[in-house]
């Protein structure tokens, strides 16, 4: 996790640092067990439609299900991070697949089924000079030859 002071998240409520570790904030339905990320705004479960959603921490471990390294800048001015960049689908042990950015320093070693860990990264620095962080998935140390 980048230790940047005064950084702000891309959006509030996506992740938290709890019990010393980084977790994504999701919902689990107590009735059918379906898991959601991000937390739902609508008060019922999108699968069984019962109003039995409970907050749940997701991660930090995950496994890449699919990914793509993107060589073009997205349309519109929504994304202000670097290009190339990568995103993909990551399976979490809580039984949910989510879409997430993949850490920018490891684009060359990404692979399907690779084990990854939740982290945060400064995506860009805002016009007010505030670093803006996103959650990302980073290959586990044993997959990173370049790390100490």
């Amino acid at each position: 996790m980048d230790n940047i002071r005064n950084a702000r998240p891309l959006e509030e409520g996506l992740w938290t640092v709890a019990d010393g570790g980084l977790s994504l904030l999701g919902h689990r339905c107590a009735s059918c067990g379906e898991v959601f990320f991000p937390r739902r705004k609508c008060s019922h479960c999108a699968h069984c439609f019962r109003r039995t959603l409970e907050e749940i921490y997701l991660g930090p471990k995950g496994k890449i299900a699919s990914f793509s390294v993107v060589m073009i800048a997205p349309a519109g001015d929504f994304y202000r991070g670097p290009v190339p960049y990568a995103y993909g689908c990551v399976d979490l042990p809580e039984g949910i697949r989510i879409k997430g950015l993949l850490a920018r320093d490891y684009l060359d070693i990404l692979a399907v089924a690779m084990e990854v860990r939740l982290s945060t990264e400064v995506l860009y620095v805002s016009d007010e000079e505030i670093p803006v962080e996103a959650f990302v998935f980073k290959p586990l140390k044993e997959n990173r030859k370049d790390e100490q």
């Binding site: 793509s68 060589m71 399976d91 879409k99 950015l101």
Partner: protein, 384 residues
């Protein structure tokens, strides 16, 4: 839901299609009115006979159909603008079909029109955090599906490229396509990477374009030989748990049937036919692999069978089941709101036997499929 096929028969009696491409200083009312005038002439109808307009578009702003009709001439009729991403004009077509089948109107115009913003498709069908994370690159979203399709089907990168080669070969015979020049396998495989593993020529080009179709009830058909019957027109959105574009698949509750298969199954039921009865197909080749999984999901072959069939020439213009006879999105280009309409114009042209060098002999029944952000899946079956 009452099957439309048990209501009044509906026919397409005229079409108008502009030449698709990138143009300088063109507006939707220029190409939209051009397509409408061509369709009226084709149907031997006067503008004042049209009782309602359903217009599909995505990026044309407020009341886009009205902007076009202002050019043609207002007559007080209802104009309904339909924004349903890449299925916009397919959705507009379905509304027109329903309104005639239900005997509300006798003569209705369907328009698909789009002047595309330049650059990659500026899709905003995402949550703000997803947009800020850069998840709105549609080739990358399709790339994620492609990675999984290649793994489960055994398709190779070369198979994906062969879809582009086939469609560009067909497009070379289509004077209204944006790209009318064939390309080689090497050119596809050496084009620059957009989002791994997809390269530029695995992705469809965009275009400005318009397509108009005139629909009538049976008693308003002037020339029966040129009236092609609407056998089915269906529209679905995502089934729970499906992964597509902005949606991520549920690990706990994957759907038994996806929204594409569902839209196809409903269409076959409505038309009273099956995949083996279809002579020609307009499949959704927004990226080249999507044509392959589309053909499988539409029921033309089992999962994993499309790549070997493609290699054997099964989907060629002279193959057993010609697919994207006009060159598809790969050649025609993709003006989002007009794409379904363009597909339907090609089916009609083929059924009329007026497709010239790309004519499929004896084509009697054709299926068109378009899908996209939302998600939406729209299947139309037209027959002689």
């Amino acid at each position: 839901m009452k099957p439309l096929s048990r209501m009044r028969d509906v026919f397409v009696t005229g079409i108008g299609l502009t030449t698709w491409g990138y143009y300088e200083k063109v507006f939707q009312y220029d190409i939209g009115s051009e397509a409408i005038m061509a369709a009226l002439k084709d149907a031997a109808m006067e503008w004042r006979e049209i009782q309602a307009v359903f217009c599909g578009s995505v990026y044309q702003g407020t009341a886009s159909g009205h902007q076009v009709i202002k050019e043609v001439g207002f007559t007080g009729i209802p104009i309904v603008n339909v924004e349903n991403a890449c299925s916009s004009s397919g959705s507009a077509f379905r509304l027109a079909y329903q309104s005639i089948a239900a005997e509300i109107y006798d003569k209705v115009l369907v328009l698909g029109v789009e002047v595309m913003p330049r650059g990659p498709i500026p899709s905003t069908a995402f949550r703000p955090w997803e947009l800020a994370s850069g998840f709105n690159v549609q080739p990358a979203n399709y790339a994620n599906l492609t990675v999984r399709y290649m793994k489960s089907s055994g398709a190779t990168l070369e198979d994906l490229a062969l879809v582009t080669v086939k469609n560009r070969k067909n497009g070379a015979l289509n004077p209204k396509a944006r790209f009318q020049k064939p390309i080689t396998l090497e050119e596809v495989m050496q084009s620059r990477i957009i989002a791994t593993p997809l390269r530029l020529l695995h992705c469809c080009p965009l275009a400005d374009g318009a397509a108009a179709l005139i629909l009538c009830g049976r008693r308003n058909v002037k020339y029966r030989r040129r009236a092609m019957q609407v056998a089915a027109s269906t529209l679905t959105s995502a089934c729970y748990g499906e992964g597509y574009l902005d949606l991520v698949d549920s690990l706990k509750y994957p759907p038994d049937e996806g929204f594409v298969s569902l839209s196809a199954r409903q269409a076959y039921e409505e038309a009273g036919c099956g995949p083996s009865d279809i002579d020609i197909v307009q499949a959704y080749d927004t990226v080249s692999p999507s044509e392959l999984w589309d053909l499988e999901e539409l029921g033309f072959c089992a999962h994993g069978e499309a790549p070997p069939l493609l290699r054997k020439g099964h989907f060629d213009l002279r193959g057993r089941l010609p697919v994207n006879t006009d060159g598809g999105l790969m050649s025609r280009g993709h003006p989002l709101g007009a794409t379904s309409g363009g597909q339907l114009c090609e089916i009609i042209t083929q059924l009329w036997g007026e497709a010239g060098a790309r004519q499929v002999e004896g084509a009697k029944i054709g299926l068109a499929h378009s899908m996209g952000a939302g998600p939406n899946s729209s299947v139309t079956i037209l027959k002689k």
